[in-house]
Amino acid sequence: MLKNSSRLHIPEPGCRPGETPDMSHITVPPAGEVRRPAEDVDPAEIRDLAWALIRVLDDGGNPVGDWNPGLSADALEKGLRAMMLTRAYDARMVRVQRQGKTSFYMKSTGEEAVAVAAALALEYGDMCFPTYRQQGLLVARDWPLVDMMNQVYSNSRDRLKGRQMPVFYSSREAGFFSISGNLGTQYSQAVGWAMASAADSDSRIAAAWIGEGATAEGDFHHALTFASVYQAPVVLNIVNNQWAISSFSGIAGGERTTFASRGLGYGIPSLRVDGNDFLAVYAVTRWAANRARSGLGPTVIELFTYRAEGHSTSDDPSKYRPGTEAAVWPLGDPIERLKAHMIGAGLWSEDQHAALERELEEVVRAAGKESESYGTLKEGARIPASTMFDDVYKEMPPHLVEQRKQAGL
């Protein structure tokens, strides 16, 4: 008999706590290198882009190449502001969680461009199916921070009536679909929404986000299959921040190919982009959205980024990766990079930046104060507990009327 020289391969990250962080396996191609195909290109002609890395901002902060979206000063400032506001908001919410004012929180630090640039590249009516790490969409769409905080606190003004864990926002008005605790489920739902939109020849498209870890769920495959078969107008984003709680991206299949390449097997055009490059994310999203809107179907976009902090307030990343890993991550910080670009272009200054930082901190503080006046998880006002029997069905069936009585509520 032949000898099986195979061993079970268990992927392991390059370094663990106590070791010197090393990201030398990541090759960073120069900005501007990747061609920008026509929006109506045949997907078969751009398969190579699934293994490329679309970048606009070079190391000096200059925008280079075909993908430069040529944004106005206003648009750039709007993007910078939304990213900074998201970061300030995250910082405060972690602080209040540590103070025991709510049960849980999740930051998007280092990944703000992923959500904010996409929000600005999409139309306001386009429907977003995010994960818990795209709060930047709400911020960029100018959704009131107070409303977001009310949800985090499960307080008396929480539109979700205290039912969802913090950060599981929902805003129909802002086109931000309800966050599910179950990873991946929103991805295929987005395709259904897009199919419905296409059936009505509606101008709105859908966009969905999934973490690289969660791409392993069946929903991911269902989404790509249905999107391909029915040519649904949807932008399918994969946020590869390289970590899924304690598991590095190799556990999701990242050792052998890019996540963008997953799309090729469905005949879907697939792009890979520097997720910390605001301009690149904007440009790529716009390209995909234009395709979708003009009837050319779905696009897969891998956003290569790095989860700069812990998975959530329940997580301690120093247990599984070197604390200084972030420092060697080669694609930098999206806020710093956009700031450098704007300063370089003469549109911004360190002073303006510092002032904006102060202003936003104040905005967040004021919102926090207001929201806390409506209650926090364990103190102050809250929604009547009897509401917990509402909305299970459109009309309350007899057994729930009875149970509400039994509960004395």
């Binding site: 199916f129 295929s188 259904g192 419905a196 495959h221 909305d391 069905y393 459109k394």
Partner: protein
């Protein structure tokens, strides 16, 4: 109309009245479904209203949830109830809780049709009755018709309902009111009064049971195929059973049930699903909770055995009129 025709008519009516109604599932488009329930609907209503779906039950329900969020009213077919499990997560974690978790901002007005139950030599993967799994889930409704008239009226009600509804169709009833006597020739629906089905729109409301036989000796709670089996058992034993066709398992018409059992003092619960933790357990628990002091005998459950559905022994597995009759006798004599 037979049951298939009635279901087809229900979907035709729904498609005609509401442009939001969208039907998809495996083989439901051009071909019209492996049981032909959607026959002709694609031709009549167009490709984008009635179409084939990939073999991906999880994807089908997810897409329905997404379409529902957009404003459509999707009606999907799971080819056999045995194949609903890949969609469990989308049903339980998503459709069922969408209204709740969004404070009413979104909901899932979807209907999931699926042929279910045994009796066609389908073995363990074309015979199951999984309703008891889904009746445990807050936010889902479950409907099971027993005849063509109800099938059409209940399906229209389910489609028009803004909550997610599982609509299980007893496939053994598609062509006739099968009463469990598998060795006798099947009577066609045409001889049954419930085959008189209006062409147009009507609803049989969800949540209302139907007393299909009035009686005083014992109350039989049944649904789907088992309604006909229970009627046969009553007739063959000569026991004056009151047979209640539940029609909707969730929400349940508890009032009709307890009113009857309080009067008869005896109750037999019948279903084809495996016994342990089946819907019959809930019925027995509820009846003893509400009618304890009226009960004169233990509530018996006549059900499928706690095994997979075996291909060659389906008639030993199926809770036919003989087993139901014996339970009736034991219960009235206890």
């Amino acid at each position: 109309m037979n049951m298939i025709e009635a279901l087809n008519s229900a979907m035709d009516v729904a498609l005609t009245r509401d442009p939001a109604v969208t039907i998809f599932g495996q083989d439901v488009g051009y071909f019209g479904g492996v049981f032909r329930a959607t026959d002709g609907l694609q031709r009549k209503h167009g490709l984008t209203r009635v179409f084939d779906a990939p073999i991906s039950e999880g994807g089908i329900v997810a897409v329905a949830v997404g379409m529902g969020a957009y404003g459509k009213r999707p009606v999907v077919e799971i080819q056999f109830a045995d194949y609903i499990y890949p969609a469990t997560d989308q049903l339980i974690s998503e459709a069922a809780r969408m209204r709740y978790r969004t404070g009413g901002e979104w909901w899932s007005p979807i209907t999931v049709r699926s042929p279910y139950g045994g009796g066609i030599y389908g073995g363990q993967t074309h015979s199951q009755s999984p309703e008891g799994i889904f009746t445990h889930v807050a936010g889902l409704k479950t409907v099971i018709p027993s005849n063509p008239y109800d099938a059409k009226g209940l399906l229209i009600a389910a489609i028009e309902d803004d909550d997610p509804v599982l609509f299980f169709e007893p496939k053994r009833l598609y062509n006739g009111p099968f009463d469990g006597h598998h060795d006798k020739p099947v009577e066609p629906w045409s001889k049954h009064p419930a085959s008189e089905v209006p062409e147009g729109h009507y609803v049989v409301p969800l949540g209302k049971a139907n007393i299909v036989r009035a009686g005083n000796a014992v109350t039989v709670l049944a649904y789907g195929t088992m309604v006909h089996v229970a009627l046969a058992a009553a007739q063959e034993t000569g026991i004056d059973a009151e047979v209640i066709d539940l029609r909707t398992l969730m929400p349940l018409d508890l009032e009709t049930i307890t009113r009857s059992v309080s009067r008869t003092g005896r109750c037999v619960v019948v279903h084809e699903a495996t016994r342990t933790c089946g819907f019959g357990a809930e019925l027995a628990a509820l009846v003893q909770e509400h009618c304890f002091f009226d009960l004169e005998a233990p509530i018996e459950r006549v059900t499928g055995w706690d095994t997979p559905y075996p291909h060659a022994f389906e008639w030993e597995y199926f809770p036919g009129p003989k087993r139901v009759g014996e339970a009736l006798r034991r219960t009235v004599e206890a």
